[in-house]
C-alpha cells in the first residue's frame, strides 16, 4: 500500500461540488475497524473546538491511524487543505429496534459561506446492511439553504442514498448535506464515527490538478439529480459553478453559460 497521500482528481472534486459527498468503500483495514468498534463502545474523550488536527489524536488511537491512511489523508487535504482544525467528533449509534428515524436535517446551523466549507468524515467500522439504519443522505442537497431539521417534513427523495457498505467505509460530506440516521430494524447496534473538520487555508486548488480541464469535470458539474425540480435544478447548476469558480480561482468557468449570461451587464461595465 502506498504511504504517500493520494490526492483527489479534479473530476472527483467536481463530483463533490455537484453531489456533496465522496464515498470510499472498505478502505480501512480490519485491524483498525476492530479497534474502532471497541473504542466506540466505550465512548470517546472530547476534543476542544478548534484543536489542530495534527495534535488532536494520539498516535496509538484509531482516529490517528484512520486519518493517516493515504486515501483518507489525501481526500481530506484535497477538500479542506493541510492543517485543518477539529470542529468536534462524536459516536453515533442507531440502537436496535429503535422504532424511528431521525428527521431529515443539515447539521449545526444554516451555513451559506460561498467560498469555504467544512467536511464531515463519517466512518463505518462494521458492515452496514439494508435494515441496520445506515445513514440516509441526499446527493446534491448541500447547497440548499435550510436550517437544521426545518426540512424534516420530507421523508424520501428520488435518488436518495440509504447507505449500505462494507466494513471500513469512509464517507466525506459537505457540511450542508441533508441526512438522517435511519431506523435500525435489527438486534444489533449500528455505529458511526463522525469527525467535523474546519479548513484553515483558502480552499483553492488543493487537489491533483492534472485533469483540471478534462471534459469530465464539466460533465460532473452538469449532473442533474433525480429529486431536483425542473426549474430549480438549473439553479443548482448555477450555484455549483459559483463554488467551482471559488475553488479554482477561475472566474470565467461556466456550464451551459448559466452564470455568464446573467452576469452580463454592459451598462455597469462601461462605468467600471
Amino acid at each position: 500500500m502506498s504511504t504517500s497521500k493520494q490526492l483527489l482528481t479534479s473530476v472527483q472534486v467536481a463530483r463533490f461540488v455537484a453531489q456533496g459527498f465522496l464515498r470510499l468503500d472498505g478502505v480501512v483495514p480490519q485491524e483498525i475497524n476492530e479497534r474502532a468498534i471497541a473504542t466506540l463502545t466505550e465512548g470517546l474523550p472530547d476534543v476542544a473546538y478548534g484543536t489542530p488536527l495534527g495534535g488532536a489524536f494520539a498516535p496509538d488511537t484509531f482516529v490517528h491511524e484512520l486519518l493517516a491512511l493515504p486515501v483518507v489523508a489525501g481526500a481530506v487535504e484535497s477538500l479542506v487543505g493541510p492543517d485543518p482544525t477539529v470542529d468536534h467528533h462524536a459516536v453515533h449509534v442507531r440502537w436496535p429496534h429503535e422504532g424511528e428515524a431521525q428527521p431529515l436535517h443539515g447539521d449545526a446551523i444554516i451555513d451559506v459561506r460561498p467560498d469555504a466549507f467544512d467536511i464531515q468524515l463519517m466512518y463505518y467500522p462494521h458492515e452496514v446492511t439494508a435494515d441496520m439504519g445506515g445513514t440516509l443522505s441526499v446527493p446534491g442537497s448541500h447547497l440548499r439553504r435550510i436550517n437544521e431539521t426545518d426540512v424534516g417534513r420530507v421523508q424520501n427523495l428520488r435518488g436518495q442514498t440509504r447507505l449500505t457498505c462494507p466494513a471500513g467505509t469512509v464517507v466525506l460530506v459537505h457540511h450542508g448535506i441533508w441526512h438522517s440516521g435511519r431506523r435500525n430494524d435489527t438486534a444489533n447496534r449500528r455505529y458511526m464515527y463522525k469527525l467535523r473538520l474546519n479548513p484553515t487555508v483558502p480552499q483553492v486548488r488543493l487537489w491533483d490538478l492534472s485533469d483540471l480541464h478534462d471534459p469530465a469535470v464539466t460533465a460532473e458539474l452538469n449532473t442533474y439529480l433525480p429529486w431536483y425540480e425542473q426549474a430549480t435544478g438549473r439553479l443548482e447548476i448555477y450555484n455549483r459553478v459559483l463554488l467551482w469558480r471559488a475553488l479554482t480561482g477561475d472566474d470565467s468557468f461556466d456550464v451551459e453559460y448559466w452564470v455568464t449570461r446573467v452576469s452580463n451587464r454592459p451598462t455597469l461595465g462601461s462605468h467600471a
Binding site: G99, E100, A101, Q102, P103, L104, L136, L143, R144, R145, I146, D150, V151, G152, R153, V154, Q155, N156, L157, R158, Q160, R162, S180, R182, R183, P226, W227, Y228, E229, Q230, A231, T232, L235, E236, Y238, N239, V262
Partner: protein, 88 residues
C-alpha cells in the same frame, strides 16, 4: 373519522408533473412511515394520487423570488398535501 396524509413534492407546479419527493403520515395508526423508508414514490404523479382517491387539500403558493435571492435554492417548491379519511 381518521386522516391519512400524503405529501407529494412535484417537479413543477403542475399537479400532473412527476413526483420527486414524498412523505406519509397515518392517522389510523396502522402504518408508521418514517424518514428514508422507501426509494420509490407511491405514485408517479400528483394526478395519479387523485385517480386513486386521494383528496388534495393544500398546494404550495407560487411566490416570486425575493429580490437579491433569485438564485438561492432551499426547500422543495411544489408541495401538495392529500388526504384520505378512514372510518373508525
Amino acid at each position: 373519522m381518521r386522516q391519512q396524509v400524503l405529501v407529494l413534492y412535484l417537479s413543477t407546479s403542475t399537479l400532473d408533473s412527476h413526483v420527486v419527493g414524498w412523505s406519509q403520515y397515518d392517522g389510523t395508526g396502522r402504518t408508521h412511515p418514517t424518514t428514508g423508508d422507501s426509494d420509490e414514490p407511491p405514485y408517479p404523479t400528483g394526478l395519479a394520487a387523485l385517480l386513486d382517491g386521494w383528496r388534495l387539500f393544500q398546494a404550495s403558493q407560487l411566490l416570486p423570488p425575493q429580490a437579491g435571492h433569485e438564485y438561492d435554492v432551499s426547500f422543495l417548491k411544489h408541495e401538495f398535501f392529500f388526504e384520505k379519511l378512514e372510518d373508525d
